[in-house]
């Protein structure tokens, strides 16, 4: 910053610095005026409740992360609150409503897929597009229009199913 001249007029850099200062002050007053209005009219929501929720979440995460606390054990081997110990694969047996055969609950879905003859159709349909399913629901819910588990994704990265038989070689029987 250069020194002021001998007369009382401020230097160029001083003037520009003053202008900048005025602009900055003006912006600060804009913001404080808005905040003042919001606070006075009670529009600033329930900050205490929000902060309390944040605090509780933070506390919860700390407690859960603490290994000395009772962590969640693998619930599959644990007794549920009713005193039952359901097996890993659901063992209930009922009749398939499509073909009438007795099926085990835990294997019902793969059975039904074969039994309804859906497999080939489902795979073929999937390669065509996943946008079909997107469009189908976009009219109902314009803000949720994607399909993260589209089968095309699955085929593209060649992922194997989590469990169960693999039908990709097409060597299954249609009922």
């Amino acid at each position: 910053m250069s020194m002021a001249n001998d007369d009382n007029t401020p230097s160029l850099s001083q003037m520009s610095s003053n202008i900048f200062g005025d602009l900055l002050d003006s912006i600060i007053v804009d913001v404080s005026s808005e905040c003042h209005r919001i606070a006075r009219l009670g529009l600033d929501r329930n900050l205490e409740e929000e902060e309390e929720e944040l605090r509780l979440s933070t506390q919860a995460r700390a407690r859960v992360a603490d290994p000395s606390n009772n962590g969640e054990t693998n619930t599959k081997s644990v007794v549920d609150i009713f005193g039952q110990t359901p097996p890993a694969v659901a063992s209930e047996i009922f009749e398939c409503m499509n073909c009438g055969r007795s099926t085990v609950a835990g294997r019902f879905a793969p059975h039904l897929e074969k039994c309804m003859g859906k497999v080939r159709k489902a795979r073929l349909k999937a390669t065509r597009s996943s946008t079909a399913s997107q469009n189908r629901y976009s009219r109902e819910s314009p803000v949720s229009t994607y399909s993260p588990y589209s089968s095309s994704n699955r085929i593209a990265n060649g992922g194997t199913p989590v469990s169960g038989e693999d039908y990709r070689d097409g060597s299954f029987e249609e009922l």
Binding site: G42, M116, K121, Y137, S151
Partner: protein, 579 residues
């Protein structure tokens, strides 16, 4: 000093302002209104001559260049302009009547004696009208097209409690419904039928969605007398079924997802605690959503949308005429989940705003895209700070997502919008808000990212933690609040605010009752639902129901969150009558 009851503004003005108004009425404000100048999308200011220079009558020349002068205040009585340092002096130097001034750059009232900004309804009203006129939009609360024709008259909520005589009658004639094992009704595991945890997780949430639960348990859809199934039985061809070779020829097609839900409700609320197999529902759903029917892991959110669609379609067919989903009269699914989104697109050149309304059954939110690139988890770091913010990485929160969802977004120059007023394509701002909140709000967090490169579409899951509250206040995100913010938070009835809403009836307070979480990778993950019943949290992991501490829930990775309007959320009463 000022009270606020959620959306209602109760204003206490300073005594000088009330004095001034009682003496002069609103005439001075109307005079000011003529000098209001508004730029589209800009601030309202008071200016008589477009080129006038602001000058304080009391400042000397040396003071003019100092920066203690922050505001120019024009006296409402005599229009003399003073800076904030000299404003009080002006009020004192004249006899009474010069206490109120207006900040000319911001159109805000100022009391020179209290030395503080003050607020007035009539003045604000004038400013809003001036702002509206500048964009020739007309008055902001124009009759909105989604005006519910039968606007229900609100009745003041009065809690009821029995008098001694009634209490005697009740205890003598009834016994409280207590489940045999002391656990809440409707708590029952769901068997995994083979990669169906995506379905089980959503079903658990629906089983405990208060209005849906009440609907089915009140026998509003009786599967034994369902008209739709009877109609289907008469059809030889049902185009919803994709079957090969008539596998299904030993029974006629009975396809009604609501009937299957009814059966499930009956089973789950029966008191039997052995895990239930929703096999029939799976079968019906696969017929409804043929393209999703395959034995592989699906997305829970997609299933949710599909189920609502299925319930809607099945019920709607019966009526024969298409119903608007916005008012939720078509089916229970929409009555419960359907809200209305408002989208405003504003021309940045002239301020003209075009508004559209769309129904929605849920809200899908993006996680903050600009999150830090650090790969460290922050779970251990965050407990050092009070509100979960670390120095470099603020926590992702649901309210943060909602703020981003409702913030004005500048549409790029590639997406210029045709402005009706300018008659050319202009750059514009888009802003979303919630016109009507549903009874039950479902939030869906977009944790699955897709990138579509030509060679191989890649997908990955975003595991980042998202903070969410158990009690949620949506009042900042509704259309009236967003509109008000756009007009400088002036006191004005935006969007048809009802001023006489008593606090207990406000529909913008919600309580969390179900949380669907996803763990694991995109292809090989697992869904679990946490339910809040009688203020106790239960973990529903397919067939395994366990009780968990609320900390587990707060720390969980949220995928779908179900909130119900507080007025519909029953709290456990402490004093259950004992026989």
């Amino acid at each position: 000093m000022n009270h606020h009851r959620n959306n209602q503004i109760l204003l206490q003005t300073c005594p000088h302002l009330s004095d001034f108004k009682s003496k002069h009425g609103t005439k001075p404000f109307r005079v000011l209104q003529k000098c209001l100048r508004v730029k589209p999308l800009g601030r309202a200011e008071i200016r008589r001559d477009p080129n006038e220079l602001r000058r304080c009558i009391s400042c000397t020349t040396t003071e003019s260049s100092s920066s203690t002068r922050l505001r120019f205040l024009a006296c409402v009585a005599c229009a003399a302009v003073s800076c904030n340092s000299h404003a009080a002096g002006h009020a004192e130097s004249r006899e009474s009547g010069h206490e109120i001034a207006v900040d000319v750059d911001r159109a805000e009232l100022y009391c020179c004696v209290c030395r503080d900004q003050v607020y007035d309804r009539e003045f604000d009203g004038s400013v809003v009208l001036a702002q509206a006129e500048s964009s020739t939009l007309g008055v902001p609360n124009t009759k909105n097209p989604i005006e519910s024709p039968r606007k229900r008259r609100r009745v003041e909520y009065r809690p009821w409690s029995s008098d001694p005589r009634e209490q005697v009658l009740m205890t003598r004639g009834s016994s409280p419904l207590q489940s045999g094992d002391g656990y809440p009704w409707g708590l029952r595991g769901l068997n995994n039928l083979g990669n169906t945890c995506f379905m089980n997780s959503v079903l658990q949430a629906l089983l405990h969605t208060p209005p849906i639960r009440n609907y089915f348990l009140s026998d509003r859809h009786n599967r034994y007398v369902c008209e739709l199934k009877k109609a289907n039985n008469n059809n030889t061809h049902n185009n919803n079924v994709v079957l090969v070779n008539g596998c299904n020829n030993n029974q006629s097609v009975r396809l009604c997802l609501a009937c299957d839900m009814d059966a499930m409700f009956s089973a789950v609320y029966s008191g039997d605690r052995t895990p239930y197999s929703p096999a029939k529902l799976l079968y019906s759903w696969w017929q409804h959503a043929a393209n999703l029917a395959s034995y592989e892991q699906q997305d829970a959110h997609e299933f949710f949308i599909s189920m609502l669609d299925g319930i809607h379609e099945k019920v709607d067919k019966d009526r024969g005429k298409p119903q608007s989903q916005g008012n939720g009269d078509c089916c229970i699914a929409h009555k419960v989940f359907s809200g209305i989104l408002r989208s405003d697109v504003t021309c940045t050149a002239c301020g003209y705003t075009s508004t559209t309304y769309d129904p929605c059954v849920d809200i899908s939110l993006d996680l903050d895209p600009n999150y830090g690139s650090s790969t460290k988890t922050s779970s251990t770091k965050s407990h050092h700070t009070f509100n979960g913010e670390t120095a470099d990485r603020p926590q992702s929160t649901l309210m943060g997502c909602l703020e981003r969802f409702t913030r004005p977004e500048r549409l790029g120059s590639a997406e210029k919008f045709f402005c009706q007023q300018c008659q050319i394509r202009q750059e514009s701002l888009k802003q979303m808000s919630l016109k009507k909140l549903p009874l039950v709000l479902c939030f869906h967090i977009k944790r699955f990212e897709h990138s579509n490169t030509r060679k191989m579409p890649m997908s990955r899951k975003v595991d980042r933690y998202l903070q969410f509250p158990f009690s949620l206040d949506m009042s900042s995100y509704i259309s009236s609040s967003i509109l008000r913010g756009r007009f400088g938070n002036r006191i004005f009835a935006f969007g048809g605010d009802e001023k006489d809403i008593s606090p207990s009836e406000l529909p913008s307070n919600f309580e969390l009752f179900a949380l669907v979480t996803h763990s694991g990778k995109l292809e090989a993950g697992h869904y679990v639902t946490y339910l809040r019943l009688d203020n106790q949290w239960y973990k529903c992991d397919d067939a395994w129901i366990t009780q968990v501490n609320e900390n587990i829930v707060r720390a969980a990775q949220a995928y779908m969150m179900f909130y119900v309007q507080k007025t519909l959320y029953y709290k456990v009463s402490e004093n259950l009558t004992t026989s």
